[in-house]
Amino acid sequence: MLVPVLFGISVLAFMLGMASPGDPVEAILNPDGTQIIDQKEYDIVRERLGLDDPVPVQYVKWLKNALTGELGRSFFTNKEIKEQMAYRLPYTIRLACFGMALTVVFGLLFGILMAMRRDGPVDHALRFLTTLMLSVPGFWLAILLILVFVEKLHLLPTSGLNGFSSYIMPGITVAISTIGVCARLTRTSILDELGKQYVTVASSKGLNARKVTMRHAFRNSLIPITTFLGNYFAGILGGSTIAEVIFNIPGIGNYAISAVKSRDYYVVQAYVLFTALVYVVMTLVIDLLYLVINPKIRAGEKIG
């Protein structure tokens, strides 16, 4: 299943480069649009980029290189894409892990609290808060955070990298709406489970409400939550563009944005391929996690 998906994505990624407007040759020779391009010079650059080959040939060449990790050089900076990616990836991974940690901790915590205090003041307050969180646009929040923590309180660095503290605001920006969604998903999943008969039976054994919720209802509600969190993690691993640009973190998302701006389509192709790979790998990881949390899948042949 994974191989055909990757193949399909690779074709699409390649086509995306082909279909995008603008001429890369022109972009290289005439970056500011003021020079007149000599036809001979144009042809040389075109040949050097391999753009004179027929499209399928270009695709096969590109794919062969991509499979060996050779993603080519940027048209624009003439730097190895592979090296650029390797340099940028750690920043994105750090940001993604921090965002994920925030989401897991607060999303689950809020969700459990809401479910346990259903229809009480805590539930109402958190429902209001989470709705607010999931409807706040990331970029707006980022600016607000800068205004408060940097301009007014002078607590955090605006941009650039000064260790952990520089990930705090980007992390919140990346996580905020997902915390809201995750908390609500956790709440409904737990409430769904709490209505089931095995929960009543667990209470009839004399277990208190907290144990019934945590040991039984929450464990069962982990199944939908894992799917959601896995997809989210894959998403932010592919680079959280807004946060990276606003806080000037040299991650993958930032790289992709500058490539799109300069029509650097080898980079865009590499980026699309990379995000697809991340998704496919995360899907695999989620499937493996299911084996851990859902014995029905582990038991294999005896499903249902």
């Binding site: 009543t200 004399g206 039984h216 038991a299």
Partner: protein
Amino acid sequence: MSEKELGKNISLENYNICFETAKGKVRAVKDVNTVFEAGKVTGMIGESGSGKSVLGMGILKLLASNAKVEGRCLYGDTEISAYTEKQMDSFRGKEIALIPQNPAEALDPVIRIKKQLIEAVTSHGGAAKAEGEKRYEALMKRFGFQDSRETGRKYSFQMSGGMNQRIISVLGLMGSPKWILADEPTKGLDAILRRQVYGVLKDILCNDIKSMIVITHDVALARRLCDRILVLYQGEVLEQGDTSSVLGQPLHPYTEGLVRSLPSNGMVPIPLPDRDKESESKEGCVFYPRCPRACSRCVHEKPGDYQSADGRKVRCFLYA
């Protein structure tokens, strides 16, 4: 036997349960006055929706959050209907344990069977895990699981319906309760499993627990198992008394109809409610629209619980 082994009487006084729903109040249990005697098996019979399961769950206070209970439920002299959640936690499973309905859905699908069963012992604190293990081994053997270790490692969805049925019976006994509340133990089971359930309950009665409440629509099971019978219809107890007299010489027209509807008695159905009668009586007897022996008094007046000569209580003007 002493009270220590039998437990205490469970009495209900003017007991009502209603549910607040989007469409308004639904009264599921109405004005129940009865005593479940310790050392006896009391059966609650009635058709689906008659409120028998709700009444049972009400005693254990395991109702949905939109349920409202009025009246009192006493255990001996203590009012358990006034217990806090915390007090209920140490009461459930220890004084009254539940043998739930739908065995397949009564067990947590992601937790191994043994762990779930032992939880019924460890939840009450004090008791060490080792004690739970010992009790688990002994009970599983008794209920026909020779390889209790292997079975304990499984999940409920890996077991057959009959096995799950036996496992939830073990579950009810794990906490060494004084009372067992068996909720629809034969619901949806075939004849062979029904016989197994009867055997299991009989076994529990002979060896472990003498005080039991059996909620069932299975009149045949109730007749064989129970000392006393409560007949419920639309949330009201219409007749209560010893099994032999209630099912042998039924007094209330509904009980009479119920007994006559048994296959062994010719399967005569109780007539469906009369539309006109249904709309005309809102305050009257709940059975009035279907009652073959209704009189004019039944339309607007609710009958009380009238004592008959042999000590039964019947909610019908015929015995006023």
